[in-house]
Amino acid sequence: MTDTQDNPETYSAAAEVGAVRKRRTRWERIRLALKKAPPTAWFGMIVVALYCFTAIFAPWLAPYGEAEIFLEPYAPWSAEHVFGTDQIGRDILSRMIYGARNTMGIALVTTFLAFLIGGGLGLIAAINRSWLDQFLSRAVDVLMAIPSLIFALMLLSIFGSTVMSLILIIAVLDSTRVFRLTRSVAVNVVVMDYVEAARLRGEGLVWIMRREILPNIMPPLVAEFGLRFCFVFLTIAALSFLGVGIQPPTADWGSMVRDNASLIQFAKYDLKAGLTPLLPAAAIALLTVAVNFIVDWFLHKTSGLRDDH
């Protein structure tokens, strides 16, 4: 009566109906996913790849050094200085290229640290569900009650604006949101029978966290990582713009906007000069948009929503 199934008149466990799916290797699945990615996701991925390339190979790509000073400050756009020079005569293009490395590097480290702190504590809170959970959750509530930019400004003026304190302060402040997300998705997984089975087996906390829970909450965390990266990036840029972020002579897009902000009023005389302070701002905006495109695609893919066929 059917050609695809085994002889239907006998029963065998291995031939049981249901599981006739083809196994795909991880590579095949990734290739398939990429092939079906929408143009926006491709745009995002290409932009992010370009940024990463620029950041990694900055010393080779930049025409001049990061803090190399030339004679003419506020030089106009020319063949020599493609985007001109800044207020003390540094090449803007070079600083933008190095800026990619500094701003993105610091943002990446900060985001990782925020995930390590927030994610780790969130998982522990979700598994533990006792006074520790209460303590951590309320502590996070308190931290979140204070406007984070103002809090960061305050802490930075107490501890000083070094790269290290910048990373630590932003990481701790951002880890509160990661904590909340991790805890809320992890509590749904913790109640699963397989976590109970691992506990009954006598597995330790680290194994349960890393092997049983983490793989199952990865999709929302990865998506959050992208968004969090954008926020950290914007926070650093904002702090730098306010003068307490990355300190000169290290190049950074946020402070570059501030340093050259006054040029914008010359736009009516020389449009290009007016554009100069907008370039680092545009670089920030483009990266943010690109990362969000990727996150959107990823979320759509993992949320299980399928397009109607």
Binding site: A13, V17, M192, R201
Partner: protein
């Protein structure tokens, strides 16, 4: 919408499906789900659709409404409902039929009600929306339906919200909702699968009564043969999206023609010869346990002999699973002791040694949630090997393959993920995981209740074989008496956190019964189409003189 001025004759053809073909989309391609099925349903007739999961029962049931789930399409054939072509009908036309002339009762009533609205408002929603009855009249009618369905306090139960009534009550309210606009056809999709046996009887009786009184035609989808025997006039057996056979209920039960149908029937005949065991393997002595301040176990004493199977039966909330949690140490008891091999087990999981943990393993009801979806079969079975026995690399893989063969699967399963397995295969992997630890004692928590009958039989046979080979002791938690007969030596009946009785299978299953045991046993559907009628008559006769 009063198309029927005169009541149509019982016996007219209401639904005619011819050569229906349906495809579903998964894994980047279309798969055939229904491969050309014919179905004819007359007015007032109840048809039972049975088959294992994946047979296409629910898809066909939904197609009878002209509906397909997202990612599913009807590719051929005709579906004609009372002269209306449902394949060609527009969405708007179908929407006018749905909820008014064709109603649907889903498996999970809890998930089908809107928690933000009162039951009565939801019951009459379709009726008033289509102006079949004015609102006040619809309300009065709904209360009548509640009364017919034997819901407690029919005048006021409609004022409650879904979370304020029990699962069985909610299922009956859903039936009332389906009946409210007096549809011509109701589709019941496994409406009692999620209920306790004692509740199931009430719901079945109520549904049958109301369907009979109003001459409503119905399609009843289930995998429980005994249930369908009570409800249906005609039974259709499906497999792999094709019809195996169709016949009147009585004939189907007594003279199934196809071997597949016979194999479905034979499951309930599985029976183990009971054996008495003297050597106590695990004993629970005077145990009390509580969740917070709610005490759920009261002075529970059970003793389980070595190498035998003790079935713990009772409805949900009777403390069966809590007893298991006490034994495993997940819920430390507040009073009493648990002895294993004569020595007292520490109440808390954390205080038990690795060896104590290894000796007692557990198999869960829902194999889906008992396996980490991100681990392969090899990792799932391999972990206890590594954790308890220290096996690594090749040795571990070799043992995993041995275990797979022991559960009648093969090497090819080793790098599959749980989502790539069928229900029965998943449960087998869970059994292999428990076996990997080389345990003496396995707690089986409703391990077959989520499975199809034929798959259940396979799992039960496997468990019996493993017991014979390795002398494993089982504590088997279930509410299904057929399973109890198939596997157990002794039976413990629990009710509201207390042990009602413990004894050999033959003693417990024969009179005289304590009150609760009798209620429980009599509620288990039998493969006899007259069983429900007889049972209701008996219960009524008992109440009458009182």
């Amino acid at each position: 919408m009063t198309t029927e001025t005169k009541t149509p004759e019982k016996g007219d053809v209401l639904l005619k499906m011819r050569d229906v073909r349906i495809e579903g989309f998964s894994d980047e391609q279309w798969h055939r789900i229904i491969k050309g099925v014919d179905l004819t349903l007359h007015r007032g007739e109840v048809m039972g659709l049975i088959g294992e999961s994946g047979a296409g029962k629910s898809t066909l049931g939904l197609a009878a409404m002209g509906y397909t789930q997202p990612g599913v399409r009807i590719t051929g054939g005709s579906i004609e409902f009372d002269g209306i072509d449902l394949v060609a009908a527009s969405e708007a036309e179908k929407r006018r039929l749905w909820g008014t002339r064709i109603a649907y009762v889903a498996q999970s009533a809890a998930a089908s009600f809107n928690p933000a609205h009162r039951l009565l408002d939801q019951t009459i929603e379709a009726t008033t929306r289509m102006n079949i009855l004015p609102e006040a009249e619809a309300r009065r009618d709904a209360i009548e339906l509640y009364r017919d369905l034997q819901l407690p306090d029919p005048e006021h139960i409609g004022e409650r919200y879904p979370h304020q009534v029990s699962g069985g009550q909610l299922q009956r309210v859903m039936t009332a909702m389906a009946m409210s606009p007096r549809p011509d056809l109701i589709i019941f999709d496994e409406p009692t699968t999620a209920l306790d046996v004692t509740t199931q009887v009430e719901v079945l009786a109520a549904m049958r009564k109301i369907v009979e009184e109003h001459h409503t035609a119905a399609i009843y989808i289930t995998h429980d043969l005994a249930v369908v025997a009570q409800m249906a006039d005609v039974i259709k057996v499906l497999r792999y999206g094709e019809e195996v056979e169709e016949a009147e209920t009585r004939q189907m039960l007594t003279h199934p023609e196809k071997p597949y149908t016979r194999s479905l029937w034979s499951v309930r005949a599985l029976q183990k010869r009971e054996e008495k065991g003297d050597d106590v393997h695990l004993s629970i002595e005077g145990v009390d346990a509580a969740y917070g301040s709610a005490k759920v176990l009261h002075d529970v004493t059970i003793s389980i002999p070595r190498g035998k199977t003790v079935a713990i039966v009772g409805e949900s909330g009777s403390g069966k699973s809590t007893t298991a949690r006490v034994i495993t140490g997940l819920l430390p008891q507040t009073k009493g002791v648990v002895r294993f091999n004569g020595e007292v087990l520490p109440p808390r999981l954390q205080d038990r040694s690795k060896e104590q943990l290894q000796r007692i393993q557990m198999i869960y009801q829902m194999a889906d949630t008992a396996m980490n979806p991100r681990q392969t079969v090899g990792e799932i079975i391999g972990r206890p090997l590594e954790f308890y026995l220290g096996l690594k690399g090749r040795a571990r893989e070799k043992r995993v393959i041995e275990l797979l063969e022991m559960i009648e699967l093969d090497e090819s399963f080793i790098d599959r993920f749980p989502s790539e397995l069928s229900g029965g295969q998943k449960q087998r992997i869970c059994i292999a995981r428990a076996l990997a630890a080389e345990p003496e004692f396995i707690i089986c928590d409703e391990v077959t209740s989520a499975l199809d009958q034929i798959v259940q039989e396979g799992i039960l046979k496997l468990l019996l074989r493993l017991q014979k080979e390795f002398g494993i002791t089982y504590m088997f938690i279930t509410h299904d008496i057929a399973t109890v007969k198939a596997i157990s030596d002794e039976i413990v009946v629990m009710y509201q956190g207390r042990v009602v009785e413990q004894g050999m299978k033959s003693e417990v299953l024969s009179p005289p019964y304590p009150e609760y045991t009798r209620l429980l046993l009599s509620s288990v559907p039998e493969m006899d189409p007259d069983w429900l009628t007889r049972l209701l008559a008996e219960r009524e006769a008992e109440q009458a003189p009182a």
